[in-house]
């Protein structure tokens, strides 16, 4: 029944446009819609009538959005803790760096570059952390719709924060480089790492802004973001003659393995869900 599928697809689009956006909610409501359509068809109604009745029974997107918003407003605990820790770290870094500015060890441009870039990296790590919690909760069956939305919303905003901060931090770094080293760009692992992290965070912001990605994809991308930022920040695998290719702050193998594990755990779960929906 291609006509029926078209009508259901249109209804789904109307619901999403009306504010009922999570794919899992739409899947569930669509399942209900289909059951009512089958029930009405079995009762002798025409297809158009059956669809009309089913749509009326499921309800308007406005009223459903209002009811769903009532339950999705709650912020889950990891988001509260993560946001508090991030804020405290931002203050701590700013205070420590400010001290170096006052004793003349550092100029204001370098201060701004370090503080903004570091807080941007930390924001990206936080979004990735939310992704890891999301995957763990889903894996152990603890991910309720409210928790999922809360984590996704937090990852959404911290992705924008990280994109803006990392871009600003990178540009401030180029200005500092022009002032002190007479060139906007320095060919070193640290610079390449920062550049890659900047490209990634900005690209992720653009993907969020212009592509309709699900909560799940956002969380998986946030985990990938942790790897990109980790490699970019610590430059552990960028071979370069100046630094001998290694600036290890911690064992990167553990860091990478940890994130690949969570990514695969999340991805396999996604694959399982995709199989179900086919």
């Amino acid at each position: 029944m291609p006509d029926l599928e078209e009508k259901i697809a249109k209804w789904r689009k109307r619901m999403a446009a009306g504010g009922v956006k999570p794919a899992a909610v739409l899947d569930e409501l669509e399942g209900h819609l289909r059951e009512v359509i089958q029930e009405r068809l079995a009762a002798g109604r025409s297809e158009s009538e059956a669809v009309e009745i089913a749509i009326a029974r499921v309800g308007s997107p406005g009223s459903l959005r209002t009811e769903f918003n009532k339950i999705s407003g709650a912020i889950c605990l990891p988001v509260v803790i993560g946001a508090c820790v991030w804020t405290m770290l931002v203050i701590l870094i700013a205070v420590l760096m400010l001290r170096r500015v006052f004793i003349g060890e550092m100029g204001t441009l370098m201060f701004s570059h370090i503080v903004i870039l570091t807080t941007g990296y930390l924001a990206a790590f936080l979004a990735g952390g939310f992704g890891i919690i999301y995957v763990c909760w889903q894996w152990f069956g603890r991910l309720s719709p409210g928790r999922g939305q809360s984590l996704s919303k937090a990852a959404f905003w911290f992705t924008y924060i990280s994109g803006g901060l990392v871009l600003c931090g990178f540009l401030l770094g180029t200005l500092w480089s022009k002032q002190h080293l007479d060139a906007y760009w320095q060919d070193s692992p640290r610079w390449w790492g920062c550049f890659c992290a900047c490209i990634w965070t900005v690209a992720l912001c653009l993907i969020q802004r212009f592509a309709s990605i699900s909560d799940y994809v956002r969380m998986l991308l946030s985990i990938v973001g942790n790897v990109v930022i980790g490699l970019g920040w610590f430059c552990a695998v960028v071979p370069h003659p100046v630094s001998n290719g290694v600036m290890k702050y911690w064992p990167m193998e553990v860091f990478l393995g940890f994130h690949v594990l969570f990514f695969l755990a999340g991805f396999s779960r996604r694959f399982e869900t995709a199989k179900l929906s086919n």
């Binding site: 909610v25 399942g31 209900h32 769903f68 009532k70 309720s144 719709p145 409210g146 199989k275």
Partner: protein, 117 residues
């Protein structure tokens, strides 16, 4: 004998959690089946906009009363089944006590009215 009027949506909404918990205590179920059973058991006197059941189910899932799982059906489509958790059983016991109290008070009052009528 007068006909039973439709139960207003406010009363249906107020009793929604108790109804869902009670139905799920008999075994796992899904949205459409829950609505059909409520309709059948109330002789079609309890009706709500079907979609409004889902925010209630999701809120109860957030509360940790029920859990959900997707099940692949024979037609290839998936369906979300809900079942009661331990906290849900405790919530059901609490709600049962409260509703029985309301029922008891009303029965008492109407018994008195009939006595003096």
């Amino acid at each position: 004998m007068h006909s039973v009027p439709m139960i207003p949506k406010e009363l249906v909404a107020a009793s929604a959690e108790a109804l869902i918990l009670s139905l799920l205590s008999k075994g796992e179920s899904y949205g459409y089946a829950i609505i059909q059973e409520v309709r059948a058991r109330s002789d079609n006197h309890m009706q709500w906009t079907d979609g409004m059941l889902y925010p209630v189910l999701h809120r109860m899932e957030n509360n940790g009363w029920i859990k959900a799982r997707w099940v692949k059906m024979e037609n290839g489509r998936k369906r979300k089944y809900y079942s009661l958790k331990k906290d849900g059983k405790a919530a059901l016991d609490k709600q049962r006590t409260q509703w029985l109290k309301v029922h008891g008070v009303l029965t008492q009052l109407w018994g008195e009215q009939e006595q003096y009528a």
